[in-house]
């Protein structure tokens, strides 16, 4: 266990945890967009920044990636911290004006749109947190989507933005997306995502369409479970 002072409070935390967990464990809220429990951390959104003091040196770190340390003095609401969070929110609001998630979050933080920033019209609700890319690679294991281009031209998508054979239509990316940017529509025995239409499997017991056939084939191949067994939906299992 390590001892720290967070916002003036003595806090004890397990040795191998990140600062973010220690802070939240102490009942202090820290905003995040890109830290999802199912994927590794990337430190892309920068909302979770805090100010740490070690000896005489203070600096800003992302709490989601910074491991707890004995004797650390943490300030989660210093002026420098709030200045970074404010800018990040203003920048994201200008990038994704249609995101209700961002608007709600900004309202809670008391941050308004910065009128000096021109509003983007071509970015949708994507904040490039890359949770979708990580879940596709780390959890699903197919890497059907990735990031391409650089800087402000960066985008998430399938290779060359063409329908990807690697995609199994599982929708894990939709599940982890914090802003609801990724579109997935299901009608009858069809599911559409990333420009591809998937055939859905009907449950052999209740008849409900519950998962794309490609996804079940992929699971069958990976786990050795038969397709018959996988063709029963989770509710009927």
């Amino acid at each position: 266990m390590v001892n720290m002072i967070i916002d003036g409070k003595n806090v004890t935390a397990r040795k191998d945890t990140m600062l973010l967990e220690a802070i939240r464990g102490a009942g202090i809220s820290v905003p995040t967009l890109c830290a999802h429990e199912s994927v590794s951390r990337s430190g892309a959104c920068r909302l979770c920044v805090v100010e740490i003091k070690k000896g005489n040196r203070t600096r800003i770190v992302t709490s989601c990636l910074y491991g707890v340390e004995e004797g650390l003095i943490v300030n989660t609401k210093s002026e420098r911290v709030l200045n970074v969070r404010r800018l990040v929110m203003e920048l994201l609001l200008a990038r994704c004006p249609e995101s209700d998630v961002l608007q709600k979050m900004a309202a809670e933080m008391g941050i308004e749109t910065q009128p000096r920033f021109a509003i983007d019209t071509d970015k949708g609700k994507c904040i490039l947190c890359r949770s979708c890319v990580r879940v596709c690679e780390e959890v699903v294991g197919v890497s059907a989507i990735g990031l391409f281009s650089r800087g402000s031209y960066k985008e998430v998508g399938t290779p060359y933005n063409e329908p990807s054979d690697a995609c199994i239509g599982c929708g894990a990316c939709v599940y982890v997306c914090p802003t609801g940017h990724i579109e997935m529509t299901s009608t009858g025995d069809k599911r559409k995502i990333w420009g591809r239409t998937f055939k859905m499997q009907a449950c052999i017991r209740c008849g409900k369409y519950f998962a794309p056939v490609d996804q079940l084939k992929y699971i069958s191949k990976k786990t050795g479970t038969s397709m018959e067994e996988l063709s029963i939906c989770t509710e009927c299992r």
Binding site: C45, V49, T62, R86, L91, R116, I127, R150, K154
Partner: protein
């Protein structure tokens, strides 16, 4: 500067004469990228053909790396007299061979003429450009044909390695480098020995040694010229470093836009292997180390350590948070030493000449010399090497020869896009890592862009932010979006769309972008903005409040006008104007339609009567 620096620096050429014999005739001709662009390879071919023709093939021709004075290429030094000829053309060759090489006569038109005294100067060391330099790292370029390892042997090449492997323990090597006070030449100025010590002590195998040759600052080419001109010095430094930290595998990360550097490094690596200096069982000592070249695709961010590792690993060049240091988990998550090309090239020198010698050069906190590339509105464009602590004034006026066209100095941008602009009032600043940081700029890898009164500082900030916007990897929000928005605001200001409050907004954003960004690219991206606001705030205000660009640069804020007194109505400007914005009858005063005018400046250049002015 210590009094014996000239001697130290110029003794190198004397050594070379010793190697070749004091009376041996040979010609060193610059074949660096700059001189090649001036046609030095053709000059070299012509020289070799002419020597054959005049039966003088016993005269050796060295195609060397960059000699530094790029403004005056192609240049050559004719030994044993060491005559320094510049701007040599193919047509000069027969005369050079016949008179200078054949009879030892000097051709005065090819000598450098002192711009003030008009005296012709015979040798490199007489030139003001070279006189105050201390070229202990870079000066060796003039003695080496980089494709010949023997040339490097001739100037004590690989002696430091032999000494290290036969007489020193790894700990002694680290302690010597630490005593020397060598700091990283790539930008951060981190003490090299501290990194080495960390990697030596770090758990985890294998350990890696990397040379960072991803030089990407606009206008900077020090590392390129070292890799091209003296590749063995970099390789020798790396082998010594590898021995010190206990590594058997190294990489040189060099951008593919540096084809000559890649070629010369590849040849040098092969030659070192052929001579038992690289690979298995080096010099029979049982120590093994190999170097692989990794060609980068030219992303600025790949000069950042963790992005560079990602790139070598075959992933997209994106940095990661560096709360765990590369010393412990770098390339492939293994302990890694990453030093800049120039840092490595300093290592053999420290071993050969000793830490005390190295530490005697420079300032309290910055030891040794530093190579700078001097570009922009300066008379003597080129590469210089000076002791740390040399003042900006000495660099710009004594070596650089002052501002082109006798114009007024305005600012010097140091440290590349992450650096800042330093104004005239700070010209006496001794240049070292800490002093540059104090004034809001940085050493960076050593780029210096000199600007005169025709440079608009808001436009300069706009240019660098535009560059950084394009080069941001796009991973974190403050850099990707923040730098983009700052760049948009600067563009607005330059176009006359600036708003009241923009300066203050840029300042607040700068702090947040610097604090909030994931890596040093975003962390230092606001520097060009902050330093220009700090020293040239009134210029920003003129753009925003008065819709005026004092330097006459920003196209949206200036107009082209014709001085009625001076215009003779000759019609030359009418012909050069691509948009047909200038009209007027012959021999009558012309007029410019500023709606059609694109402010390209062609008319100003064409007017012999200075009748066109910018307002």
């Amino acid at each position: 500067m210590s009094g014996n620096t000239d001697k130290q620096s110029h003794a190198i050429l004397d050594n070379l004469s010793l190697y070749y014999g004091p009376k041996k005739k040979f010609v060193a001709i610059c074949a660096g990228t700059g001189c090649r662009a001036y046609g030095s390879l053709k000059v070299k071919d012509a020289l070799q053909a002419e020597l054959k023709k005049q039966n003088m093939t016993y005269v050796d021709v060295l195609a060397t790396g960059c000699l530094g004075f790029c403004e005056k290429g192609p240049m050559m030094i004719i030994h044993p007299d060491k005559y320094f000829y510049h701007s040599v053309k193919e047509s000069d060759i027969p005369e050079i061979v016949e008179k200078t090489i054949g009879k030892g006569e000097v051709i005065s038109r090819l000598l450098y003429r002192h711009p003030e005294t008009q005296k012709t100067l015979f040798r490199e060391e007489d030139l003001p450009f070279y006189k105050k330099q201390l070229r202990v790292v870079f000066g060796k370029n003039g003695m080496i044909d980089p494709s010949r390892i023997e040339d490097y042997f001739a100037i004590d090449g690989y002696q430091a390695l032999a000494k290290v492997l036969s007489e020193m323990t790894p700990e002694q090597v680290i302690s010597e480098v630490k005593k020397a006070g060598l700091r990283g030449r790539g930008g951060g100025g981190f003490p090299a020995a501290v990194k080495w010590e960390g990697v030596r002590k770090a758990a985890g195998e294998p350990k890696y040694v990397i040379a960072n040759g991803d030089e990407g600052d606009p206008g900077a080419y020090m590392d390129r010229s070292l890799m091209e001109g003296n590749p063995h010095s970099v390789i020798e430094g790396m082998i010594i470093g590898a021995y010190a930290v206990g590594s058997n595998h190294g990489y040189i990360y060099v951008r593919n836009e540096y084809p000559l550097a890649v070629e010369n490094l590849s040849k040098a690596i092969q030659a070192a292997k052929d001579n038992g200096l690289l690979g298995e069982n080096i010099l029979g000592t049982g120590f093994s180390f190999d170097i692989q070249i990794n060609k980068g695709a030219g992303a600025f961010v790949c000069g950042e350590s963790s992005a560079l590792f990602a790139s070598i690993e075959g992933r997209a060049g994106e940095p990661r948070a560096k709360y765990v240091h590369a010393v412990d988990r770098g390339l492939y998550d293994k302990p890694t030493v990453l030093n800049n090309v120039e840092t490595w090239a300093n290592v053999p020198l420290i071993i050969n000449k000793g830490a005390d010698w190295f530490a005697s050069i420079g300032t309290e906190g910055s030891k040794g010399t530093k190579i700078f590339s001097l570009v922009g509105k300066i008379n003597n464009t080129g590469l210089i090497e000076v002791p740390m602590g040399t003042t900006l004034y000495e660099i710009i006026y004594d070596m650089g020869g002052g501002i082109t066209g006798g114009r007024k100095f305005k600012a010097v941008q140091t440290g590349g896009p992450s650096g800042g602009c330093i104004p005239e009032s700070l010209l006496d600043l001794p240049v070292d890592f800490d002093r540059l940081y104090d004034v809001g700029s940085m050493m960076g890898s050593g780029g210096m862009i000199v600007m005169d009164d025709t440079s608009c500082m808001v436009d300069v900030a706009r240019y660098f932010l535009e560059f950084l916007k394009e080069e941001s990897c796009g991973k974190c929000v403050p850099c990707r979006e923040g730098v983009r928005r700052m760049s948009e605001i600067l563009e607005d200001i330059c176009a006359g769309r600036g708003r009241e409050g923009d300066i203050e907004l840029l300042e607040t954003m700068s702090t947040a972008v610097a604090d909030g960004s994931l890596c040093a690219l975003g962390g230092s991206a606001p520097n060009p903005v902050l330093s220009t606001i700090r020293y040239f705030r009134e210029e920003y205000e003129a753009h925003i409040r008065d819709h005026r660009c004092p330097a006459g640069v920003c196209k949206g804020l200036i107009s082209y006008n014709i001085d009625e007194e001076k215009c003779t109505g000759c019609g030359v400007c009418v012909k050069v104007c691509a948009t047909k914005a200038i009209t007027g009858e012959l021999k009558k005063v012309h007029t410019i339609d500023n709606d059609k005018c694109t402010r390209c400046g062609a008319c100003i250049q064409s007017c012999k009567f200075d009748a066109i002015y910018v307002k």
